[in-house]
């Protein structure tokens, strides 16, 4: 058996509210399946499993707010025997042959007895709770141990039920906590270069001209890929600063800053960015943006990016000095691509220019490494067909 616990979906998360079980005891689980939805400050997050197996038992009730690391479910691994069968096996040692151990109660019966023992609820209160989607297990009984209409009436107006979307107030608090911690703890330095991205931009235009509209690629995609490849060359920027030391990331799990319409932003991550073809990155970005705006992200996308990129996009500003998201040690900022007068081979030419900046954690790395990173990005963007 393997325990499935409340995952940490970021350094600033210490608890989550279970809002939906998408798998139920007895269901077959494949690695990557979405097992549950957890409400966090970042919205409703779809939680994935990391094992193949069978969902043996769930241990958390809907609506329960649980600290990170709390037991949510047990998963029976391939080849393991279900719990009932284990207890049904007769003990072979020193047992007289005639003594048949009593059959254990079906687990179903045990569960319902436990539930009844936990609280007493009046019929009308039970029905109102069910209609409002409130789990009676999370209503505080009166001093007589009973949940009645009075306890229902005392519940907050907004019951803790499944919200689709992101609570912007909560998100603002999360951003405030993370950014304040970053500015308090991390000695930032900033290194930037204006890079000529004309080659990449022209190649992309000709590439997109060959494609139907839905398959076209945004210029952010080769930029992200180039940064990911450059990070592979300068791995000192990819990882976490934890317990006073730097732990490099095994892969490049790149957080993408996505602004929300109502304010706030979120940086879900795409893992192994350095290995993904551009089409894949484009598809996943489109999917991410849609799901961020719908407030449905997956746990693997929110758990601990190893680096973040903040790409301002078209018609925005030339430069950004971004703030590192702890415990990461660097963040990349990319300004808009704009046509500028540029000196090429001693001649003035209109070129497409974008300013790349890197904010680094000076406890872990230095500006010289940032220069190497920026040079590498420039090189990759000069051979876009190889991205």
């Amino acid at each position: 058996m393997t325990d499935f616990r409340m995952p940490s979906l970021g350094a600033d998360m210490d608890e989550g509210t279970l809002v939906e079980w998408l798998k139920h005891p007895g269901d077959l689980l494949r690695r990557g399946d979405i097992i549950a939805v957890v409400e966090t400050q970042k919205g409703a997050i779809e939680i994935e499993v990391f094992h193949d197996g069978v969902l043996e038992q769930t241990h958390a009730a809907l609506g329960a707010t649980l600290p990170v690391g709390s037991l949510l479910a047990t998963i029976r691994m391939p080849g393991e025997v279900p719990a009932e069968q284990v207890s049904a096996v007769p003990e072979p040692i020193l047992q007289p042959a005639a003594a048949v151990p009593p059959q254990p109660l079906p687990s179903q019966a045990k569960v319902s007895i436990d539930v009844l023992g936990q609280f007493r609820i009046t019929p009308v209160a039970r029905i109102i709770a069910a209609r409002s989607g409130i789990d009676p297990g999370h209503i505080l009984p009166g001093s007589d141990g009973i949940i009645g209409l009075r306890e229902i009436a005392q519940l907050p107006q907004q019951p803790p039920k499944h919200r689709i979307g992101i609570d912007l107030d909560e998100m603002r608090k999360a951003i405030a906590a993370a950014m304040a911690r970053s500015k308090r703890e991390i000695p930032h330095y900033y290194v930037g270069s204006a890079l000529d991205v004309t080659v990449m931009s022209d190649w992309l235009s000709s590439e997109n001209a060959k494609r139907p509209v839905p398959e076209r690629i945004l210029s952010a995609v080769p930029i992200i890929k180039a940064c990911a490849l450059a990070l592979r060359k300068v791995p000192e920027f990819n990882g976490h600063f934890t317990d006073g030391r730097f732990l490099p990331g095994q892969t490049i799990k790149m957080g993408i800053g996505i602004a929300l319409r109502g304010g706030g932003l979120i940086a879900p991550a795409i893992d192994m960015m350095e290995m993904l073809p551009l089409d894949d990155i484009m598809r996943r970005l489109t999917d991410l943006v849609a799901r961020v705006r719908g407030g449905r992200l997956r746990s693997s996308e929110l758990s601990e990016a190893t680096v973040t990129i903040s790409n301002l996009g078209d018609d925005s500003a030339d430069m950004v000095l971004p703030i590192i998201y702890p415990p990461q040690v660097a963040i990349i900022g990319v300004g808009q691509i704009a046509v500028r007068p540029w000196v090429v081979d001693g001649r003035l030419e209109p070129r497409k220019i974008a300013t790349f900046t890197l904010a680094g954690d000076h406890r872990v790395n230095d500006g010289r490494l940032a220069l190497r990173f920026l040079k590498a990005v420039e090189q990759y963007l000069k051979k876009p067909e190889a991205l």
Binding site: T122, P123, V124, A125, I127, G142, D144, I146, G148, L149
Partner: protein, 327 residues
């Protein structure tokens, strides 16, 4: 035009009206003539209607009740007065085995349009042989209707309707009601329907379900509870057979709590029947188990303080309501 009269006067007016309207109507029972009735309901009627229609009978409940049933079968509209429900047990055979069954056993050929009035209940220090409440025994029996007028208007209005009914009707008059005053509206029709409960007071916190002599105690409890901010709905059953399930269920669905006040003994009581029906019709609306306020399971005592202690009183009702509201 409304006027104030006592419950006793209301019964007498109703008897007088019936005797005047229909020559088939006559009254018989112990002491109804010369004495004017054990509770004084027929005073003066002998003078107006004569011995043929106001008939004093021997002390034989089985005999005169049986005679009343026979007269009803023969086309008359008899009103039989039994001094108290305790004595009516002597007439149970006539009521249950004859009056209640003849329509059924004759294949609908014979009806028994008899009206049997009797006093019931404790509260006048008449001791264990004159103070009980056996309404539930009669309400158990198919073939008869059982009513319990609790107000002066019902006492005035239910008798004529009962006489018009083709089947036996038993009217229970609680012995503590006769001196109580109430309003009679003379401008409208006086007749009151036999069936259907009445909501005597509307409220949203708890349904108090009662009948007969307990109604005034329940209303007093509701007044006191209102001062504490508890809004009681008071249901007067009026008819004990048939019971008005609809009104009860609708009220409990609004208030989510029910307290039944019944002067009968708890075991096998009308309160038990009503409680069971609430389970059948309104279980999912309940916020508390149905509460019952009934008489102690002893013969009703003679001493005043013990009689009070043995029967439902305002403080018991208030306590039950507070239990139901978890206060």
């Amino acid at each position: 035009m409304s006027r104030r009269i006592t419950y006793r006067e209301a019964i007498r007016e109703a008897l007088q009206e019936a005797l005047r309207r229909d020559p088939r109507v006559f009254l018989m029972g112990e002491d109804v003539g010369r004495y004017g009735g054990a509770y004084g309901c027929s005073k003066g009627l002998l003078t107006e209607f004569g011995e043929a229609r106001i008939r004093d009978t021997p002390l034989s409940e089985a005999g005169f009740t049986g005679a009343g049933i026979g007269a009803a079968l023969g086309g008359m509209r008899p009103i039989v007065e039994i001094m108290t429900v305790n004595f009516s047990l002597l007439a149970l055979d006539q009521i249950v085995n004859t009056a209640a069954t003849l329509r059924h056993m004759s294949g609908g050929q014979f009806s028994v349009p008899v009206v049997i009035r009797m006093a019931t209940g404790a509260g006048r220090q008449l001791a264990a042989q004159h103070s009980h409440s056996f309404e539930n025994w009669y309400a158990h029996v198919p073939g008869i209707k059982v009513v319990a007028p609790a107000t002066v208007a019902d006492a005035r209005g239910m008798l004529w309707t009962a006489l018009e009914d083709p089947d036996p009707v038993i009217i229970f008059e609680h012995a503590t009601l006769y001196n109580d005053e109430g309003e009679i509206e003379d401008s409208g029709p006086l007749a009151q329907p036999l069936e259907g409960a009445a909501i005597r007071r509307a409220g949203s916190d708890v349904s108090l379900i009662t009948y007969g002599g307990s109604l005034k105690k329940v209303l007093a409890a509701a007044d006191e509870l209102a001062r504490e901010g508890i809004a009681c709905e008071v249901i007067d059953l009026r008819s004990l057979r048939p019971l008005d399930d609809k009104t009860i269920a609708a009220s409990v669905a609004r208030t989510h709590r029910a307290v039944i006040v019944d002067e009968g003994w708890r075991s096998g009581s009308l309160a038990a029947e009503i409680s069971a029906r609430i389970m059948e019709t309104a279980f999912f609306d309940l916020d508390w188990p149905v509460e019952r306020v009934c008489s102690a399971e002893v013969p009703i005592p003679y001493p005043r303080h013990l009689e009070i202690a043995a029967t439902p009183q305002v403080p018991n009702i208030i306590a039950a309501v507070k239990r139901a509201l978890r206060r």
